[in-house]
């Protein structure tokens, strides 16, 4: 699992955003991260990695708020929209792992339940993204 690499990317993006917004004097930083279902991320591993990386990346306290996003797929042949339910769990471990690393390989291992097409669009549940960063000023300012 590459939770660590994804966490590194989140930390790097958060640092850039902090620099861009010139967030300097604050007592705490809250980073809201959304994890797509297709990534099959181990939430605890991911959180641990974020915390570990934060120690060197930020001198202030940082809190991470993690939200999961359900995957929705849309067939480009018949326009059917569907959610995964337990489709990922029914895959061979290797297949699920391929999707974890490169979600687009879902085109090999999943298909439209209505027309069996593999020509579909991943509408949601793919990305790892930062939806919000909130900085609190130190008290007394």
């Amino acid at each position: 699992m590459h939770e660590w690499a994804l966490a590194e990317a989140v930390i790097e993006a958060a640092r850039e955003e902090r620099a861009k917004r010139e967030l300097k004097d604050f007592s705490s930083l809250e980073v809201f991260v959304t994890l797509g279902e297709l990534r099959q991320i181990d939430r605890q591993l991911f959180l641990n990695a974020l915390r570990e990386l934060s120690k060197t990346a930020f001198k202030e306290g940082v809190k991470f708020r993690i939200k999961m996003e359900k995957a929705r797929l849309e067939c480009l042949s018949c326009h059917n929209r569907w959610s995964l339910k337990d489709a990922l769990k029914r895959l061979m471990p290797e297949e699920a792992e391929s999707i974890h690393f490169i979600p687009e390989t879902a085109h090999v291992y999943l298909k439209c339940p209505r027309c069996q097409s593999r020509d579909f669009k991943i509408v949601s549940g793919r990305e790892v993204w930062i939806s919000r960063i909130r900085a609190s000023k130190p008290k007394g300012e």
Partner: protein, 245 residues
């Protein structure tokens, strides 16, 4: 607000990679895969640390040149390329296992980002990228995310191919991308360095003869290095080494 976490990390992943050489052509079937695979082999043999990245997601084939049937990518805080014949190798192949992959443009862009953001190359003298034909996502995204990429344009002596090379070089030059030079492949006769390409002021780095023996050596890296094809690639390598950008 929505920040794609992958964008910030790509530069960092390529921090210790000295040069990135993208082997491109516009037109298909001119020898990009063979040139990039053998170029990487040659560099490794010369003692450099080199990576080869197969960027052709629907038609990955570098693993065939190297004779790898069962590739496993190791995972350690990200994706660790496979070591083969001294080359650090990365491809989508271990994740698709030879199955056809139905990709739309946005899928292709996502894969580019995913691989660039999560692969740990470590320190490299050269990262060689085998690009697919066409001037679409893979090329536009590489240009966008990997500013230090240098483009090696392969063409064969045919008007149809040279016309595409011309278009490609115009695109690259027009956007400030660095064109390392052109390689004429499958040469059977005299110099046909396209007059059009010449006008674009690019360097002809190598001419590679058509080598009927190369087919038999595909899948056998050692044998590949003994072909006439590989001798021409060796000269190409020496030229590239001297063009220190």
């Amino acid at each position: 607000m929505s920040i794609d976490a992958r964008l910030s990390i790509i530069d960092k992943r390529l921090n210790s990679v000295r040069r990135v050489i993208a082997v491109v052509s516009g037109k298909g079937g001119v020898g990009k895969t063979l040139v990039s695979s053998v170029l990487a082999l040659t560099m490794a043999k010369e003692g450099l640390s080199v990576g080869l990245l197969d960027f052709d997601f629907t038609g990955s084939s570098c693993h065939i040149v190297y004779g790898l049937d069962e590739i496993r990518i190791v995972e350690d805080k990200g994706l660790i390329p496979l070591e083969t014949s001294g080359v650090k190798f990365m491809s989508i192949e271990p994740f698709t296992k030879g199955s056809p992959l139905e990709l739309r443009g946005f899928d292709v862009s996502n894969i580019v980002l995913e691989i660039m953001a999560n692969t740990h190359w470590g320190g490299l003298d050269f990262l060689v990228i085998d690009m697919p034909p066409s001037l679409k996502e893979e090329l536009l995204d590489l240009r966008r995310f990997v500013g230090k990429a240098e483009y090696l344009v392969v063409y064969t002596p045919s008007k149809l191919v040279i016309n595409m090379a011309f278009r490609l070089i115009t695109l690259l030059n027009g956007s400030g991308a660095s064109v390392l030079g052109v390689v004429e492949n499958m040469v059977r006769g005299g110099l046909i360095f396209g007059e059009k390409v010449e006008r674009l002021n690019v360097k002809l780095l190598a001419r590679i003869p058509f080598d009927a023996d190369v087919e038999k050596a595909i899948g056998k890296p050692k044998r590949l290095l003994e072909t006439k094809f590989a001798s021409a690639i060796f000269r190409l390598y020496e030229t590239i080494k001297q063009t220190n950008t």
